[in-house]
Symmetry: C2
Subunit: 440 residues, 2 copies
């Protein structure tokens, strides 16, 4: 009999391994940071013993959810402007506030709130694109969350950097500071085809190859972007990035709303990962990405919330439910994006497109223990006939009871264990007053 640091039991265990079998009365044994075994409760009991056994009756266990595209610090701009056209939203609201408030201190405080919200909603990993990611990295270590932090690069100066050299210096610093970290994966994030010319994309690729890290970008989000890139380069955004050699398994691209069939073929062939941000795309009226077509063509698609300013929350459960429903109506086919596929996209596919597929995304021996326990004993989750259906169509962040990242319990009975929740909310309220005051 071996000793485990922690054993998690549940009525339903979803490992999200290849066959997507539901293990009834399942258990997971954790030792240190790792899963040492996942199987039926009976199997685990025969091999492992532990002083700490959690979960149990009326519970389901599945891998931590992965948010593959966000701008975490923008959580401080949640709901600051809605229901208005994209350009007005950006130019009159988002950019002016960022221009006035975007500092390392802003990011430090805002990231705490974003992580708090995500962890309580069962998100254990997020991929970010923003500035001051070094600051974000420190917060991730403190709060105990996993992140792929993308140092933003754009062709023009900002409060954060004055030149391309500046942006890339920051990106290289980020990489050197975090390469080898357990929780933080550094990443380079050229913003988009319309804000980064070929030079900066190529520099990003070189940096990524030199340090073997992922590249994070926005791609084909709006019809305007597609016409603009057509006008500049005579190509679709996907063809353009392909031509300059950016497309590879290393790249994960957010949005991919406006794609030709040829674009989809290219994405599949070059094994680019796609972060589908349905709620943001709907809310900004950007359009609806051809996800069933991409999946069919073999493109790996996962979910992203985008920033809270355009969503307006950071819940992957919400993205799953919205996507699974909307694509049925758009495809005029109720069989597309079924509930198993939705959870697969939210877990294993998410980890894979971020280059973390060997570490997290499913519950199997040797992987890091990133997982959630949800409470099924709720009116809206009763009765139960199909656990995948319930997670995709009914489950809410408030059903998430326990969250484990890297073997550590970071949410227990729905409360963050690593930092004081009230303090995080109070900081946010302080910033809210400053930001409100500035626009009055």
């Amino acid at each position: 009999m071996q000793h485990g640091d922690l054993i998690i039991k549940a009525d339903y265990l979803l490992t999200m391994e290849d066959d997507l079998t539901v293990i009834k009365n399942g258990a997971v044994a954790v030792k240190g940071k790792n899963i040492v075994k996942a199987g039926t409760s009976e199997e685990i009991s025969k091999e492992y013993t532990s002083e700490k056994i959690i979960g149990g009756q009326g519970r389901v266990v599945f891998p931590g959810l992965v948010n593959t595209h966000t701008h975490a610090a923008m959580v401080y701009l949640r709901g600051i402007a809605d229901d208005i056209p994209l350009q007005e939203w950006l130019e009159k609201h988002i950019w002016p506030v960022e221009g006035k408030f975007l500092t390392s201190e802003f990011v430090a405080d805002a990231v705490e709130l974003a992580c708090l919200e995500m962890l309580k909603a069962g998100v254990t990993t997020y991929a970010d694109m923003y500035f001051y990611e070094d600051t974000a990295g420190k917060k991730l270590e403190k709060i105990g969350m996993r992140g792929v932090l993308g140092a933003g690069v754009i062709d023009f100066p900002s409060m954060y950097a004055q030149s391309a050299d500046d942006y890339f210096r920051s990106a290289e610093n980020l990489i050197n500071n975090w390469k080898g970290s357990e929780l933080v994966t550094p990443c380079v994030a050229p913003h988009a085809t319309y804000t980064c010319g070929p030079e900066n994309y190529k520099r990003a690729r070189e940096l990524a190859e030199k340090y073997d890290i992922p590249i994070h970008t926005h791609l084909s989000e709006t019809q305007w972007e597609v016409s603009e890139i057509q006008r500049r380069y005579g190509k679709t955004p996907v063809e353009y990035l392909d031509e300059i050699g950016i497309l590879s398994e290393r790249l994960f691209a957010a949005h991919c709303v406006w794609l030709t069939d040829k674009d989809i073929e290219i994405l599949a062939k070059k094994r680019v990962g796609v972060a589908h941000c349905i709620e943001s795309n709907l809310k900004l009226a950007s359009g609806i990405a051809p996800v069933p077509k991409m999946l069919k063509a073999g493109v790996k698609v996962a979910f992203g919330t985008d920033g809270a300013a355009s969503n307006n929350d950071l819940s992957i459960l919400g993205e799953m439910s919205t996507a699974a429903k909307v694509h049925k109506a758009i495809s005029e086919d109720p069989t597309v994006l079924n509930s198993k596929t939705a959870l697969l996209m939210a877990t294993r596919y998410g980890a894979e497109i971020l280059g973390l597929g060997d570490k997290v995304g499913s519950l199997e021996q040797g992987k890091l223990a990133d997982l959630v326990i949800a409470n099924l004993e709720k009116p809206h989750l009763t009765p139960i006939y199909d656990i995948y259906s319930h997670i995709t169509y009914c489950m809410r962040p408030s059903d998430i009871e326990t969250v484990i990242v890297n073997g550590k319990i970071v949410v227990d009975a729905g409360r963050l264990t690593t930092m004081d929740e009230e303090e995080i909310l109070n900081k946010a309220r302080g910033w809210q007053e400053k930001i409100k005051g500035s626009s009055d």
Copy 2:
């Protein structure tokens, strides 16, 4: 100084009266079943005193949400079959289970679970279409929820009735039993244009006129229905119901997905209310109703969840968020269905299309006290710039703290006060085992 039975205070009070003003530091005074005054906390304090003051800091108060179309008892079939074509869903799953289990006892137990779920999600009134509504009415009185209960009518026999006379006898009994009830409004519910011929629609109208009650029907839900009615009568479903004299302010029609411009004109002119069921329509791949067009034409549109078998929950907050986002993308216009409109549809418009507009739907002197208090002190609701935006895009059922129906607190600190929650869940689990067993 007058005495109130209850005073509710909040940082934000949304009365949903005509101008949709946000009252900061607001309060509502309740005496018996009625609102005696709503205004600023200062105004209320000058006129009213009470031993019971609830709500307070970090809270928002708004009218109870109205679910204008559901089949409450189908909550027992939640998630029994998903991600399959409509006909297969109905014929292989829903109808066989209903055929085997649909009794008065089934409805009695299932309605408890549906009411529990809805009340905890801030829904204070629902409009139903099903069978054994007498049983449902008794449950509503026990649990303390408001309902417009529609006795179903179809052209063919069922477990519940053998003939048209049978269906209408049941409907008339329902009316006689509940006419004048405070919580229950009886209603007649001819199922749909493809399941009820003109005779039964006309009998329903006569009954409704005789007793001055509403009519509830399904209308233009699928493309198949539109072609079928074209084939049978050479008209669209809307034109057909217009021709036989069914369209009036008395009628509220669920779905209205497939409408011609002329249909929309007719619905506006005849003042028919529409129950928009976006999540069900998406999930069954039925299509997306032209809501912005209907609103522009002056049609009153509210939200419905449809049954939990096709949604899969009974949350109006979910419908608001989904609808506000989806219509933006479909219209390619981020300004449509803004957050104020969403809450208006979910409250005042909902009450109005059910014929309850003079009683509930907004918080004003003399109306019945149906209202909710939500807790804003949550990560996903922080910071706050616009309270309407937060309710539409971020609020979740778990934020609903207190629910008052007819002046009585039925949910307190998130728990039902009128019945035992655990007992309701246990009954549901018993039925789940029977239903599962029957299909094994």
